[in-house]
Symmetry: C3
Subunit: 250 residues, 3 copies
């Protein structure tokens, strides 16, 4: 199985699927192609969330503002998964979620790709097909791969949790407007409400535990604190966007 995740929209991912289908009969699954554009950190968050649900697979992930520059192409083995993508940190958070300490990073030798603007098609898709066919346990048999210890990493900012509150940051906003922060959900345990911007907001187990249109904070399925509105948009109701700082008090 090869999964594909990009910020390309349509129809670029289809070109990647064509390239893969010419090389292997691996089953291809779309993780998503509408990741926030040119925002590797947001994509890394979502991949860390989604990829651990999959059985062992090759995950090709391309959110790549540096395409066509001399940034490297990487393959990261994480347990019995492999991740393929640009060297901008994108692959490391999901790799750690997949296999914690069992991670090896390979740099891909890339020879004169057909374009300087579409390495999804010209570099990453072919490498993903090759990784699939050689098998994740045998990546070192691929002559284009060389083990490396030099690569970009990416870490999510740490929240500041103290006795009477927490300060964090919005990492992503989903399609419902649910606004996901870096604050771990366990800070909400046993609380019935918190204060946000001077106003009380109920802590709820899920959205429909407050009235329709009412604001809430909850622990999302990723385990982090989420600002939401039952049947509405949390980002709008709380005036929050990606990168904004959030303050909860109790």
């Amino acid at each position: 199985m090869i999964t594909l995740a990009t910020d390309f929209g349509e129809p670029y991912p289809a070109a990647m699927k064509g390239v893969i289908a010419r090389r292997t009969d691996a089953h291809v699954v779309d993780v998503g192609h509408e990741f926030p554009r040119q925002a590797p950190r947001a994509a890394a968050f979502w991949l860390r969330f989604v990829l651990p649900e999959f059985p062992p697979a090759v995950h090709c992930a391309v959110v790549d503002p540096g395409v066509g520059t001399d940034r490297a192409a990487l393959v990261v083995r994480a347990g019995d998964h492999a991740l393929v993508g640009p060297d901008n940190g994108l692959l490391l958070p999901p790799a750690r979620a997949l296999a914690d300490d069992d991670i090896e990073v390979f740099r891909v030798r890339v020879e004169d790709p057909e374009s300087a603007t579409f390495h999804g098609r010209d570099v990453f898709a072919p490498v993903a097909a090759d990784c699939h066919d050689v098998g994740v346990a045998a990546l070192d048999r691929l002559p284009a791969l060389t083990r490396t210890r030099e690569y970009d990493d990416l870490h999510f900012p740490a929240p500041d949790i103290h006795e009477d509150g927490a300060t964090g940051e919005v990492l992503v906003v989903d399609g419902f407007g649910n606004t996901v922060t870096n604050v771990p959900g366990d800070v909400l345990a046993d609380r019935e409400q918190v204060t946000v911007d001077g106003e009380p907001v109920p802590v709820a187990r899920s959205y429909a535990h407050v009235e329709a249109g009412e604001r809430l904070v909850t622990v999302g399925s990723h385990g982090n604190v989420e600002f939401a509105v039952n049947q509405g948009r949390g980002d709008e109701a709380f005036g929050l966007g990606v990168g904004d700082s959030v303050v909860l008090s109790w």
Copy 2:
């Protein structure tokens, strides 16, 4: 085959696909993940329209404003298809379209799902995989399922059809702006025009039978009366949205 239909947008459905792929090698087909958010009735309309095109399959459908509350999880057997989703009426209109009278409803015993906000991943995807693997004819072998006669149903509002016109309601608007009502298409048979809001509108076999930019009413591929504009948006030209009432006179 397992089909997936949600209002989740990206990347949540990918988590469901991962969960399914870990449990079964069933072929997974996306019906759509951009159904109108938290609107089970609109999704029920589209599923009633689309699912009967499929060969026997397990259809996992999640439009679920009540996630995390005590609303039940259901499996509905409809002929040689099964539908899996929340107990909010969503599954019943497509079930009737698939098998009319040959319907059995099962309640799913759910034990402590991992999250209260993402039952697509934590409840419905695993149940869909289980239904696929046991087979639709043998659902009663799944220990988590119990036959029930108590569940929410959902019916579309009936239009009011009389001698000199019809009053109905907009059920959905598609991506072209075609505005689909609950009025059955046969009311247009042998008519060349109808009156809408005091103005004559041609009845046309298809969009391009009127000039580009011109309004029309037609019988859509779902069999209902549709308000449209050739190469334009019917919703805007008629000032209509979901839930609005429509009056046709003749």
Copy 3:
């Protein structure tokens, strides 16, 4: 393999997938369903770009403002690929990209389709399944197909390239805002900048070779001149949309 490309959005393509799955176990791949609506020329550009990446396949492409009129349905054999869709020119540019001179065009005899508004479901999907099952080399065994030399073609406008510049047209804009013209990329060879609207614009190998937010022209992965902004939108920065004329001077 059957690929699907439409301007339908959701959930109409799922009905096509159901129809195909009832007829064949061919692997179905989505090329995209968000092609610019009712714009066969834009879709033809993208299909010409994407389809040559695929191994031999049947490609079902439906961007069809004339649905329900007497426009014909076509099957085009292009080498060991087949394309299925409406007779409005859409299929010919990708056919030439797939097989240059080895092209045969067949007209499909269509008998009383179920709807006048959804031939994707009622005409093209079944024909694509039939083409897949008979095999691209044996299309003439399908009784519904008749060779024809009469069909609509579609050509992209030719740019005007002269000694001190080029005048072209915007063919498509991608999801990043990259604005793709009909001017062949080789006019940029060995140039470091061009003049657009009286202002100098750097010629760059890829987006990140200029500062974030800065305008550039580059050769896209389709081989044409593209107007872009590093980590921004070229269409907005250059004030360009599909069909607009562009003038480069050097």
